[in-house]
């Protein structure tokens, strides 16, 4: 590793940190200087205090939300990949189902939240389904796209070496589609977080979305901000995990 590389790596963390500190100071000072009322925007120090004081609650509620997101995301990825493969492999099914999928994708998924609550109650299931609904379609579409973009000369090569359809699927189509599928997963993860939070907004007794509503109702804007920080930490960690998985498919970058 050269000195320039090391420097670039170092800067990668330092530059955002500097910006972060500047913004934090501006926030703290602005609240003071412009006499902003704390129920509109509490000073950063109060948000930090609220975050620390309620850390146990935040952790517990985050855990609920994480479970909802992960379960919904997992279902979306498995279901999306399976459906993507089926649609790719069986043209009649594709012709029949594709328009339905496009229409569903156009539907604002937020509008389905009340229905999910009515059907599946205030518990975790309705939120898992909301996360699933938000995350599902990008995975289906990217799976189909990845499969369709398998280079035709490689398909011909597999024919020339008399590979069975199953071998061709396993050793050509799957690896060829993986980069696109993982791009779909990277789109899907933040959507799954949105889905779960929206579900919690509409009707829940637990979770970060519920905590945000509760803090809002009690005029605890500092707690609301602390919950928002928790949401972004959760979303960031989950996205990073998907990104780590995506990096293992290194031929994506070729």
């Amino acid at each position: 590793m050269t000195a320039v590389d090391r420097n670039a790596r170092w800067r990668q963390f330092v530059d955002p940190a500097i910006l972060f500190v500047i913004l934090a100071i501006l926030w703290e000072k602005a609240v003071d200087v412009f006499h902003i009322k704390p129920y509109l925007l509490p000073p950063l120090s109060k948000v930090v205090t609220a975050f620390w004081d309620t850390r146990a609650t935040l952790l517990a509620e985050s855990w609920v939300t994480v479970q909802e997101v992960v379960a919904g995301f997992f279902l979306a990825v498995v279901g999306g990949i399976v459906l993507g493969f089926v649609l790719h492999a069986i043209p009649p099914v594709r012709r029949a189902l594709y328009p339905v999928i496009v229409i569903f994708q156009g539907l604002p998924k937020i509008a389905l939240a009340p229905l999910m609550i009515v059907w599946f109650g205030y518990g975790i299931t309705s939120k898992v389904l909301m996360a699933f609904l938000f995350a599902f379609f990008p995975v289906v579409i990217s799976t189909m796209g990845g499969l369709a973009s398998t280079p035709s000369h490689l398909i011909e090569h597999f024919k020339a070496i008399r590979a069975t359809p199953w071998t061709t699927f396993r050793r050509l189509h799957v690896p060829a589609a993986l980069p696109s599928i993982l791009d779909g997963c990277r789109t899907a993860m933040p959507l799954a977080v949105i889905g779960a939070i929206v579900g919690e907004f509409v009707g829940a007794e637990r979770g970060l979305g519920h905590l945000i509503l509760e803090a809002n109702a009690n005029g605890r804007t500092d707690l609301l901000f602390a919950a928002l920080v928790a949401v972004s930490i959760v979303a960031g960690i989950l996205y990073f995990l998907v990104e780590l998985a995506a990096r293992r498919v290194w031929w994506r970058a070729l």
């Binding site: 011909e156 090569h157 597999f158 024919k159 020339a160 070496i161 008399r162 590979a163 069975t164 070729l254």
Partner: protein, 271 residues
Amino acid sequence: MDAAVATPPRTASPAVAGEAGIRVRDVAKTFGGASGVRALERVDFSIPRGQFVSILGPSGCGKSTLLRIIAGLIPPDAGGEVEILGRRQQGVSPEIGVVFQSHNMLPWCTTEQNIRLAAEVQGLAPAEIDKRVNDILPVLKLEKFRRSYPHELSGGMRQRAALGQMLVLQPQVLLLDEPFGALDALTRDQLNVELLRLWQLMRKTVLLITHSIPEAIFLSDRVLVMSERPGHVLDDITIDLPRPRDPRAAKLAPEFGRYVVQLGRLMGVED
């Protein structure tokens, strides 16, 4: 020499009598129905076992299409047929190895994994595959790059690896579609010498498609010249140059020059 590529070497003239390696009868091909593109028109020729034959022809005249039909990847129009080693071609036959115009390597597999692929697909024993791969890699001068991925190889290495991908199944009939197409003249000459050396060792039936007149003359026992689309065989020239051939000596020989002029005229290239 290596068992994977060697059958007893012979030095005599390669034209072997008896059943044909490749026999093409009345093959025509129209893409997209009766009103579509007529790519090939009544192609008819035969290649004796062990002969090295090249096809020259203008771009788009149907050379790759002909190769795909011979390989059994697409059927000819009704009335035409292809025989491989005396057997009528139906689907892809195991005696055939193909190298396509665009290289066949999987980007996510190393050179070695790519060369193993065809053998694994055929269910050969791993020990046997190891042996074949270990024989092939030195012949293709790829030992040092067995664990490299395609994007880490040079163009010439990729094309050598493509030969390896085909050789691992030890086919009797080789179909090569401009295997060295995208290379500079020098690398191409080197690979041609290697290809000739391989062929001299194995004495398989080879059908090579090329755009290069000198390449065709240097390598082949016969050169087939194809017409503009719809392609058919315009002429069938026997190359009567002694073997083994050395690229520099061969190209200095007066006969070589005469063949270049003759083929150039047939292809409409003015000298």
